[in-house]
């Protein structure tokens, strides 16, 4: 992969090429016979918010631990700028980690926890004091400076873990599912805070999560990991709109996977057919539920694919409604419509062939 491009800054669509900060090159990891990571190559740009997304057991935490230095890669290299990182012990790396369960030192106060990195680096006391109070200020925890970690809530511990890492001004911050222990509301709030904090300090974040929604909300780019291999690395919009594989399409959001047959420029899939400039053979398409509409006489679009079907199930979600439509020949489509139609029975559906995205079949892996 070449230098990544990131679309950044308050929704502006400008694409700013940034310098590569961290470069993971052909990293593999085995525990005995168990292969956890195979041939991972990934670049992280300066100031980027990159999320490593994957199910449990996908190897995402192992990859993070290799970057931090708690695990040694079985093969491959990790570089930070001109410096080879994977040969250095964790305490020499300018990388800091926010641990899943925060890992605050229970025998130290909040303030002493945050000061820890600066103390071991033997910074002058005056500097430590000012940087610690600044860091506590930033995460709005100044009032609890003298408390022991056991006396503050999970969300507050989270902020302290963040302050303790950031106070050292690392070049890269690693976050290992830091929000997984928080309840849903606090979690959403912290997602926003974390994202704006990252913008503010301009440090690269590598954020590990299994929650695709969290990944979508926060990331500049998502690296989707599956059984130790990268499935796709792309911006949230791209990975959602143009999933590369069937797995990516299914893991991020809902989708209809259509198994089709291409013959002389025509795709046939059950009762559906549309033209596409593809080579002959089997092909797999991802069609998002919201890209399928209920057709009426006056919505007919030029070139759209139409199909009739029977509604089998309707689930009302408030703003939208998910309906399952049986279209004959074993074809079932899930359709997301604005939730206003009442009870439906026979419907005609339509979608634009451009929304049926060709995806690679994901290899079966254990």
């Amino acid at each position: 992969m070449s230098t990544p491009e990131i679309a950044t800054v308050r929704g502006s669509s400008a694409v700013i090429p940034a310098r590569t900060l961290l470069s993971i090159r052909n990293v593999a990891k085995r525990f005995g016979k168990n292969v956890v990571l195979r041939d991972i190559s990934l670049d992280v740009a300066e100031g980027e918010f990159l999320t490593i997304l994957g199910e449990s057991g996908s190897g995402k935490t192992t990859l993070l631990r290799i970057i931090a230095g708690f695990e040694t890669a079985s093969a491959g290299e990790v570089w930070m700028g001109e410096e080879r990182l994977d040969r250095q012990p964790p305490y020499r790396r300018r990388v800091n980690t926010v641990f899943q369960h925060y890992a605050l030192f229970p025998h130290l106060t909040v303030e002493q926890n945050v000061a820890y990195g600066l103390r071991v680096a033997k910074r002058p006391e005056a500097e430590i004091a000012s940087r610690v109070s600044e860091a506590l200020e930033r995460v709005k925890m100044s009032a609890h400076a003298k408390s022991k970690p056991s006396k503050i809530s999970g969300g507050q511990q989270q902020r302290i873990a963040l302050a303790r890492a950031l106070v050292n001004r690392p070049r890269l911050l690693l976050l290992d599912e830091p929000l997984s222990a928080l309840d849903a509301n606090l979690r959403r709030q912290m997602q926003v805070e974390l994202k704006s904090l990252q913008r503010e300090v301009g440090i690269s974040f590598i954020f590990v999560t299994h929650d695709q929604e969290e990944a979508m909300v926060m990331s500049d780019r998502i690296a989707l990991l599956r059984s130790g291999e990268l499935e796709q690395v792309a911006t949230p919009r791209e990975i959602y709109g143009r999933p590369a594989t069937a797995y990516a399409a299914q893991f991020i959001g809902h989708t209809n996977l259509l198994k089709g047959e291409v013959r002389s420029g025509m795709v046939r899939c059950g009762s559906l057919s549309w033209s596409a400039a593809l080579a002959d053979g089997r092909a797999l398409f991802s069609l998002r539920p919201e890209n399928i509409r209920l057709a009426t006489a006056n919505t007919a679009l030029a070139g759209s694919v139409r199909v009739r079907g029977k509604v089998r199930h309707q689930a009302f979600h408030g703003a939208t409604e998910l309906i399952r439509v049986e279209c004959g020949d074993g074809l079932v489509l899930v359709v997301r419509t604005p939730g206003s139609g009442g009870t439906l029975d026979d419907v005609e559906l339509e979608f634009s062939p451009a929304d049926a995205v060709l995806v690679r079949e994901s290899a079966e892996r254990i």
Partner: protein, 282 residues
């Protein structure tokens, strides 16, 4: 949830047991310590503080008590010095061999105390293993006499016997330290040495206090090691108590010394309990 009768049935036996076999004997001993022995070798049930006065007045009693404490203190220090590194290594670096090594530390506890004490006798004696070896390699010409029948022999034997007792609570404390704290420390730039002194050691203090208490209290009350290996210069306070209750037939004085030791130990346990509480953070 449980009926009154059931609760009574369950709590009564241990209560009776503790009263009859623990509290009553203590009470009896406490009474004895105020009585005295007449010229005709009978116990006179006249209440006075003469026995306690004698403890303070007669040098051999409090000097032996002080020596016993000094021996116990040395045993404690050596047990910690051996037990802590062992526990640290086992907990952090032994990996797969952890369970096996742990068993190896525990197994000596199954061997009779007497056997282990006698083993040292055969090692340290004039014709013992150590002296024979030293003369064989011409490091010494004559057997070293101070090896056996000395406070040195007592300290050595007690250290051997009580190191597992110091080891166990330290090991338990180290095992309870979440490993991500060590990783967090490294992550924040602390070297392994800094991590040990700033994170691992402070969090293991309750184990160290418990281990030290075990080693000190157990060796303070020991009487077999000084009896077998101590000689005249290695006598400890328990030996005096044993002889007062036995050959010397002065139960009242023996009871007074016992009671002083009991107070000392209870005070120590109370103090160490406070210390452990102060240093635990769960």
């Amino acid at each position: 949830m449980f009926s009154r009768a059931y609760k009574t049935a369950v709590t009564l036996p241990p209560l009776v047991w503790v009263t009859v076999f623990l509290l009553m004997p203590y009470l009896l001993m406490f009474c004895y310590s105020f009585w005295s022995v007449s010229a005709s070798q009978t116990i006179e049930h006249s209440w006075n503080l003469a026995n306690y006065g004698q403890l303070l007045r007669v040098g051999v009693y409090w000097q032996t008590l002080l020596r016993s404490m000094w021996i116990a203190a040395r045993v404690t220090i050596f047990s910690l010095a051996l037990g802590y590194p062992l526990a640290y290594f086992l907990s952090f670096y032994a990996g797969q061999k952890k369970d096996l090594l742990y068993q190896l530390v525990i197994i000596p506890l199954w061997v009779s105390y007497l056997v282990r004490a006698y083993a040292w006798k055969t090692i340290l004696g004039s014709d013992g293993v150590l002296n024979t070896l030293l003369q064989y390699v011409h490091l010494t010409k004559h057997p070293l006499e101070f090896l056996l029948y000395s406070p040195f022999a007592v300290v050595l034997t007690l250290t051997h016997i009580y190191t597992p007792f110091a080891f166990l609570p330290i090991y338990a404390a180290l095992e309870h330290i979440p490993r991500n704290l060590v990783e967090a420390s490294h992550d924040l730039g602390a070297s392994p040495g800094q991590t040990f002194w700033k994170v691992v050691f402070p969090l293991s203090v309750p184990g160290v206090v418990a281990g030290a208490t075990f080693a000190f209290v157990l060796s303070l009350g020991d009487f077999l090691a000084p009896l077998l290996l101590g000689g005249p210069s290695g006598i400890m306070i328990s030996n005096i108590v044993v002889s007062l209750f036995g050959a010397a037939y002065n139960w009242p004085l023996g009871a007074a010394i016992s009671f002083c030791m009991l107070l000392l130990v209870v005070g120590l346990l109370f103090f160490s309990e406070r210390l452990e509480k102060k240093w635990s953070f769960s």
